[in-house]
């Protein structure tokens, strides 16, 4: 019993150390040898451009539901003119960064783990090493750079589409004054809100690339190893995003 507990503790501390080292070395490599711009662009296309559709779709519906819920709540206080502010602040400060990151985790984070995991089990990573090439430079750093650039951009698109989703429901459907919707928003939203949203999505990009690459890089054996790594990657990334979000909010508030 004590032995088993010790074994679990040792292995989790070792995993944690390895993951920490992985993050540290990745950042070091980004500074030292960022890799080919073509590779970074290719990854941005994959993580960023190809996530656009799902981001726009989720953003529109999130904004629309915020419009509905916000209207329902605000009419109780007779202040449905504040709908624009409510929608914009919830999106910019919180839902934009978090939902965009969760969508990208499901779409790109899992694919990153699967891709690197398959390269691991088919010895393609070993092949890079035997050519005296650092696998981090070819596989890991381009994904890190692409993720930390793409996430804030996707988040910005999420915010804008969401705000118009709220406008569609609030103004066009439920008849909130269109001037009030945008005027109140402009008055209430300050740059600080936007910065904090960007800081969040920047760090979420780092988390997605970190866990996605790390889990793939140390995938176990065979197809089962890769599938396990992919599942763990998505679950761990999502949990970390939410935990880190709370931490960051409490600091940035």
């Amino acid at each position: 019993m004590v032995q088993a507990l010790g074994k679990i503790t040792i292995s989790s501390v070792r995993d944690l150390g390895r993951a920490g080292w992985f993050l540290f070395y990745s950042i070091y490599m980004i500074v030292r040898r960022p890799g080919h711009p073509a590779q970074v662009l290719k990854q941005m296309r994959f993580i960023g451009t190809k996530s656009l559709f799902v981001i726009v779709l989720t953003a529109a519906f999130t904004g629309m539901v915020l419009g509905l819920q916000g209207y329902y709540t605000l009419t109780k206080f007779g202040s449905e003119g504040m709908l624009g502010t409510a929608v914009a602040l919830s999106l910019i400060r919180e839902l934009g960064p978090v939902l965009a990151a969760l969508m990208v985790t499901g779409r790109a984070g899992s694919a990153i783990t699967a891709e690197i995991g398959i390269m691991r089990i088919t010895e393609q990573i070993d092949a890079l090493e035997t050519m005296a090439l650092d696998p981090f430079k070819y596989l890991v750093t381009p994904k890190f750079i692409a993720a930390i650039i793409s996430l804030p951009l996707l988040c910005a698109i999420f915010d804008v589409v969401g705000i118009y989703g709220g406008w569609l429901v609030g103004v066009k459907l439920l008849g909130v004054n269109p001037g009030a919707y945008f005027y109140e928003m402009e008055k209430a939203v300050v740059w600080r809100d936007v910065y904090s949203g960007f800081a969040k999505s920047f760090s979420f990009g780092l988390i997605i690339a970190w866990i996605g690459c790390y889990k793939g890089y140390y995938a176990g054996h065979g197809a089962e190893g890769v599938s396990k790594a992919t599942t763990e990657s998505v679950v761990l990334t999502s949990v970390l995003i939410l935990v880190w979000d709370y931490f960051l909010t409490s600091v940035l508030l």
Binding site: Q124, A127, T130, A132
Partner: protein, 248 residues
């Protein structure tokens, strides 16, 4: 020259290499033979630092590669080319890109020169007009030959072959053996081949070492190994079921 001294390696409770000693002579083709699952690939990966021994030394041209920093290890790895058991071609790249990759990364050659060298390397392994195909569109034998082209394209000093002919038909097998012999004659590299191809490998190699129970049981010229009186060596070469080597 590659020297292994008292190398030990275990995976969990399973001891794979047990106080192993081996010298791989420079400029010759050395074959490592032995029953399946005895750790021949593990031994090969120690030579290039893909695996590190639990204890013992691995020396390449007089320099120990155990516990070396990555930058230093990479300098030594530049002497090597390696053909993996499963070939390990980059599956998101075409055949051309696979063979061109080491040239792009390690030389200053222009696109024209790279193209020339890739096509001539592919032609040397008997492949034409497949450079735009992806690895999963190729047969096993073709993949092995692309892997071979990728391993030799930088003219390395040392080439490691992990079962270059396993699973191939007899004609392609002979062709690949011939190819290794011819290119060796032309460039004079040091080669280490892990192989099960008995007796063909005796015509290819100049030096044969048999790995058994984590140690090098016998090492010598092909004729010395063929005429060895060690019961395990005799059993392995004859493929007999009777002898010290047990299947289970």
């Amino acid at each position: 020259m590659i020297i292994l001294r008292n190398v030990n390696k275990s995976f969990g409770s399973q001891k794979v290499l047990d106080d192993l000693n081996l010298e791989i002579p420079e400029g010759k083709i050395t074959a490592i033979i032995g029953p399946s699952g005895e750790g021949k690939s593990v031994l090969l990966k120690h030579l290039i630092g893909l695996l590190q021994p639990d204890s013992g030394q691995v020396e390449v041209d007089g320099e120990s590669i155990v516990g070396l920093r990555r930058s230093r290890l990479n300098l030594i790895r530049e002497k090597f080319g390696m053909l993996f058991q499963n070939v390990a071609l980059f599956d998101s790249m075409t055949v051309f890109e696979n063979v061109a990759f080491p040239l792009h990364e390690k030389t200053d050659l222009g696109p024209g020169e790279i193209r020339e060298r890739v096509l001539s390397a592919l032609e040397e392994v008997g492949l034409k007009n497949i450079e735009n195909k992806y690895p999963d569109e190729l047969s096993g034998g073709m993949k092995k030959r692309v892997g071979l082209a990728r391993a030799v394209v930088l003219n390395p000093k040392i080439i490691l072959f992990d079962e270059p002919t396993t699973g191939l038909d007899p004609i392609i097998k002979s062709a690949i053996h011939q190819l290794i012999k011819d290119t060796h004659q032309k460039f004079g590299f040091t080669a280490v081949i892990v192989s099960h191809e008995i007796p063909d490998i005796f015509d290819v190699a100049q030096n044969v070492a048999m790995l058994y129970k984590g140690k090098i049981l016998r090492q010598g010229s092909p004729s010395e190994i063929k005429n060895s009186d060690h019961p395990a060596v005799r059993q392995f070469i004859s493929g007999s079921l009777d002898g010290p080597i047990r299947l289970i």
